[in-house]
Symmetry: C2
Subunit: 332 residues, 2 copies
C-alpha cells in the first residue's frame, strides 16, 4: 500500500472522526415526539456543519493517549450545545441563513426556535452524562462553565450593538465567551476524558481558546471576504445586523470624517444597502483593517500552536495542528 | 415553651426552608457582568414565587432521613430551572404578567428573555454540580430528563393551540411534561440526595408527579376563578393565549351549539374580550367543567398522598402532605 501523504492522512482522520460523530448524532434524529420540537431539531443538526468542535474533542482525547471512542458522547454533546447557541443566536440576530439554508427561526418561527434550542441544550447534557470516566464531575463542570460563558459572551455581543464605544479589549472579552469558550471546552473535555495530565489538560484548554479567538476573527473577515455560496451566511450580514466585529471595532478606531460617519451607521435595524456594505468594505480595506485582522488571526493561531508544546508528538496532535491551520484559512 | 399547633409547625418549617433557599439563591444575585444578561435574571428570580419545588426537594431529602442542607444546591437548581422555563414560556405565550409584575419579555424584549432563560438553565446545572453525593450522576440524570420532558411538554402545549382535537389523554401527557416532570424531579432528587432506598425514591418521584398534575389543573382553574391580585397573572390569560387547558378540553368535549362555537374561538391571536371570557366561564360552569376540574385536582392529590405511604412518618413527611393539600386549595 502506498504511504499516504500528510494531507491525505489528515483528511482521512478528520473524515473518520466526523463520520463517528455523525453516526452518534443520528441518535438525536430518532427522537420524534413531539414533532413540533424534534422536526426543527433534526433540521438544525441535519443541515451539516463542519463538526469542528466535536472533532477537536476526539483529537484532544487521542492526543493525550486516550481512546477517542471514550470521548464520543462528550464530543456530540459539545456539538449539540453549539447548535443550541446557533439556533438562539439566529433569533437574536434576526438571521435568515445558516449553512446556506434558512435558519430554524425563519423556516418556522421564534417560539419554535426557542424550544428547539432549549431541548438541544438539555440533550447535550444527557450525552455528556453517558460518558464513562472517573472525571465526570470535572467534565460536566467544564461543560457547564462553557455554557455559561457562551451566554455571557452572547450577552456582550447584543449589548455592544447599541454601545457606541467598544474597544479591542471589549471585543476580545466578548469573543472569548461567545466563540472561544466552547472550543476551549472541547479541547479540555477531550483531554480530561483521555486521561491527560494537568499540564496536558491546560494545554488543550488554552489551545482551544486561542483557536477559538482566531476562528471568530476569521469569521468576521469572511463576512466581507467570503464567497457567498461557500460561506453559507449572507455576506455583509454582520453589517446588516449591526455587529461590533473585529473589523468594525478597528475601523471605528481609525476612520475619520465621512468614513467614520458611515461606520457609525452600522447599528441594528439601520437596513444597510448592498452599496453601503461595499463602501464599508472599502473603508476597511483602506484603513488596513483587513490586513490587521489577518495578522491577528495568524497571531492567535501561532499561540494555539505554541499551547500544544507540552503534548507529545502523535498523529492526533499533528491533526489538531493541521486542523487549526486549515480553520483559519477557510473560506466557509 | 407552648407547643406549636400543627399548622404553626408547618408554617415554621416551610418558612425556614424557603429562607434557606432564598439565601442560597442570593448567590445568583451576585453575578453582575454582563448586566444586560444578569439584570433580567435578578429581576426574574427576585420577583418572588413560592419556591415550592425547592421546598419539596429539601423536604423529600429530610423525609428519607437526609440532612436537608445537603440538598440545598439541588433545590436551588430546580428552582432556577423552573424560572428558566417561566421566562421562555412567557415569550412563547406572549404573556404580560408573572407574579403580578411584567414578564422579562415585556419589561425588556424577546432577545433578553431568551438569553436570561438560557443562562439560568446553565447556572442550574452549576448548582447541581455543587452537590456532595455519591449519587451525583443519578441526580444529574433525573435533572436532565426533567429538563427534556419540560421542553417536550411545552412543545405539546404550543402544538395543541393550533390543534382542533385535543382529548383528556393528550392533555394529561402535556402537563405530565410541562408541569409534573420538574416537581417529580424535585421529589426524586431530594430523596436520592437524602440517601433514600429505591422504594423511597420511587415514592417521592410519583408523589411529585401526581402533585404536579393536581397543581396544573388547579392553575387552569385559577385562570377563571383566581383573584387577580393574588394570582399574579391576568385572569382569563389562558383563554386569550388560546391554551388547551383542562377546562377547555373538557368544555369542548361537552358543549354543543353556540357554546361549542364560542369555545372553538379560543385559539391564539383571536383577542378574546373580557365579555367573551365571562361567557366562556359560564359555559364552563354550566357544563360542570369546573366541578370536574376540582374533582380531578382532589383525585390527583389523593394519589400523591397514597404515593407517600412507603415513607416512614416524620415531621418532614407531614409537612409534604400538608404542603400538597395547601397547594391545591391555593388561590395564587
Amino acid at each position: 500500500m502506498p504511504q499516504l501523504s500528510e494531507e491525505q492522512e489528515f483528511l482521512a482522520i478528520t473524515r473518520n472522526h466526523k463520520a463517528r460523530v455523525e453516526r452518534r448524532l443520528a441518535l438525536v434524529l430518532k427522537l420524534k415526539d413531539p414533532s413540533c420540537v424534534y422536526e426543527p431539531v433534526h433540521y438544525a443538526i441535519g443541515t451539516g456543519g463542519k463538526r469542528v468542535r466535536a472533532i477537536i474533542t476526539l483529537l484532544a482525547c487521542e492526543a493525550v493517549g486516550g481512546n477517542p471512542n471514550s470521548a464520543l458522547e462528550a464530543a456530540v454533546a459539545v456539538e449539540l450545545l453549539h447548535n443550541f447557541t446557533l439556533i438562539h443566536d439566529d433569533v437574536m440576530d434576526n438571521a435568515a441563513l445558516r449553512r446556506g439554508t434558512p435558519t430554524v427561526y425563519k423556516k418556522w418561527d421564534c417560539n419554535t426556535a426557542i424550544l428547539a434550542g432549549d431541548i438541544l441544550a438539555a440533550h447535550a447534557f444527557r450525552f455528556v452524562l453517558q460518558t464513562t470516566t472517573p472525571r465526570l464531575r470535572n467534565v460536566l463542570s467544564v461543560f457547564t462553565d462553557a455554557f455559561i460563558r457562551v451566554c455571557e459572551g452572547q450577552g456582550l455581543d447584543k449589548d455592544f450593538e447599541s454601545r457606541r464605544e467598544v474597544d479591542s479589549k471589549d471585543y476580545a472579552l466578548m469573543i472569548k465567551g461567545k466563540t472561544a469558550a466552547l472550543i476551549s471546552a472541547a479541547g479540555e473535555i477531550g483531554a480530561l476524558i483521555g486521561g491527560g495530565t494537568k499540564k496536558e489538560v491546560v494545554a488543550m484548554r488554552k489551545f482551544g481558546e486561542h483557536l477559538g479567538m482566531a476562528f471568530q476573527i476569521q469569521d468576521d473577515l469572511l463576512d466581507i471576504l467570503g464567497v457567498p455560496k461557500e460561506f453559507g451566511k449572507k455576506i455583509g450580514g454582520d453589517i446588516v445586523e449591526g455587529k461590533k466585529t473585529y473589523l468594525l471595532v478597528k475601523g471605528l478606531d481609525r476612520a475619520k470624517g465621512a468614513d467614520r460617519t458611515l461606520l457609525r451607521r452600522v447599528v441594528p435595524g439601520n437596513g444597510m444597502t448592498p452599496s453601503a456594505i461595499r463602501r464599508i468594505a472599502s473603508v476597511y480595506e483602506r484603513e488596513g483593517v483587513l490586513v490587521d485582522a489577518r495578522r491577528e488571526v495568524a497571531r492567535y493561531t501561532r499561540c494555539a500552536e505554541r499551547d500544544l508544546r507540552p503534548i507529545e508528538p502523535s498523529r492526533a496532535k499533528s491533526t489538531l495542528l493541521r486542523l487549526s491551520r486549515q480553520l483559519v484559512v477557510r473560506t466557509s
